[in-house]
């Protein structure tokens, strides 16, 4: 009985690991395609791809980072901020995501700046 239970747990672990790997591979394919179209200036298509990637694998920081950049490029600043925050939550120490977010915040803050004497 014990042996059966252990086997079942192990099998479940292996299967969920495989499913996770599949999801990441699918999401990665979407991200890579998104990058190739963004480099050609097709940002709307890139957004579609990166949104798909975040749906397939909601723990994929790179997909959220890239999506945030595309949103920024399209002037969707609220969405961009949310996507950067999600990417940073997933990978708080990723220097590239941090740098992108800092640059985004700089523009965001500067445009909202209206000083009073």
């Amino acid at each position: 009985m014990r042996v059966h239970m252990l086997t079942a747990v192990l099998l479940l672990g292996v299967l969920s690991g495989a499913a996770y790997a599949d999801a990441r591979a699918d999401a990665k394919a979407q991200v890579e395609f998104g990058i190739s179209v963004a480099q050609k200036g097709l940002w709307k298509e890139a957004i579609y791809r990166w949104e798909r990637a975040t749906q397939i694998d909601p723990n994929y920081a790179a997909a959220f980072n890239d999506l945030a950049i595309a949103y920024e490029h399209e002037g969707l600043l609220e969405k961009a901020g949310a996507a950067y925050e999600r990417a940073l939550k997933l990978e708080p120490n990723n220097p590239m995501v941090r740098q992108n977010f800092e640059l985004f915040k700089e523009i965001h803050d500067r445009t909202n700046q209206s000083q009073t004497p």
Binding site: E32, Q39, A62, E72, V97, Q113
Partner: protein, 261 residues
């Protein structure tokens, strides 16, 4: 010879390999920043003139009108009305005198104050009623085919400050190597403060569109620099103009980001 060629091929191979394995890509982007004000109802903009005070070395009214018009011509879709800047101090003085024409101080009130006597933003407050004079602005609007009217206040004042300042100094160590070190020292500096308030008026009704946008910038120079007031004014306006433009028209900010996979 064969060895050298093999080495070159190997380095090329390594480069190609590295490029193939790249997991990040720098990409240029242009972020559009939507205008703060909806000016879609207007085809024209009239930078009418400003109440100005501060140093006499720069005519804040004329310079600001000229600079904003030239920037709007380049960076906005609105047609810029070309007309003389309105002498708003005189207009405000005249309209306030009309209000008290029967009173005992009427003759003094008709005299336009000299720029030299107006030093601060507070000195301009008695004249700011002109911005709320809808009849006056409506007449101006009719004259220039109902444009968006931009007016406000410009205060450009000299300023000095002394205290500890951190600056970078090049030093050469015992081995003859150059390096830059931060040094803190007491300095007396002088410069200027530019405070501007922009008021947007609907030329069709004479009413103000928004509460106005206020900007304040300060620049200090070493005591020995002798930076002319006009140069400093333009430096400070360089900081203010992008924010002014972002009020009226969509701006694109160029930059680059890193895509990762």
């Amino acid at each position: 010879m064969t060895g050298r060629i093999s080495l070159k091929l190997l380095s090329v191979g390594l480069l190609v390999g590295a490029a193939g394995c790249a997991s990040f890509y720098e990409i240029p982007i242009e972020t559009p920043i939507a205008a703060k004000l909806d000016v879609s109802a207007f085809q024209r903009v009239f930078i009418a003139g400003f109440l100005s005070s501060g140093t006499e070395d720069v005519d804040g009214n004329v310079e600001t009108v000229r600079l904003l018009r030239s920037q709007l011509r380049m960076k906005s879709n609105l047609k810029v009305v070309d007309a003389d800047a309105l002498p708003l101090l005189e207009v405000a003085t005249a309209t306030s005198a009309e209000g008290q024409a029967a009173g005992p101080g009427a003759s003094e009130a008709r005299e336009t104050p000299k720029l030299a006597s107006l030093k601060t933003e507070k000195d301009l407050e008695p004249f700011e009623h002109i911005f709320a004079d809808a009849d006056y602005w409506k007449k101006i609007g009719e004259e220039y085919q109902n444009p968006l009217i931009v007016t406000g206040t410009v205060v450009f004042t000299p300023h000095s400050q002394s205290g500890m300042v951190q600056r970078e100094q090049e030093v050469i160590d015992a081995l003859g190597r150059r390096r830059v070190e931060p040094v803190r020292e007491y300095m007396e500096r002088k410069g200027f403060i530019l405070a501007e308030k922009f008021i947007f008026i609907d030329g069709r009704t004479g009413a103000q569109i928004s509460g106005g946008e206020t900007f304040r910038e300060e620049r200090l120079y070493n005591q020995n620099d002798n930076t002319p007031a006009l140069s400093s004014y333009f430096e400070l306006m360089d900081e203010i103009i992008p924010r002014f433009l972002s009020t009226l028209s969509t701006q694109r900010v160029r930059g680059s980001r890193v895509l990762i996979k």
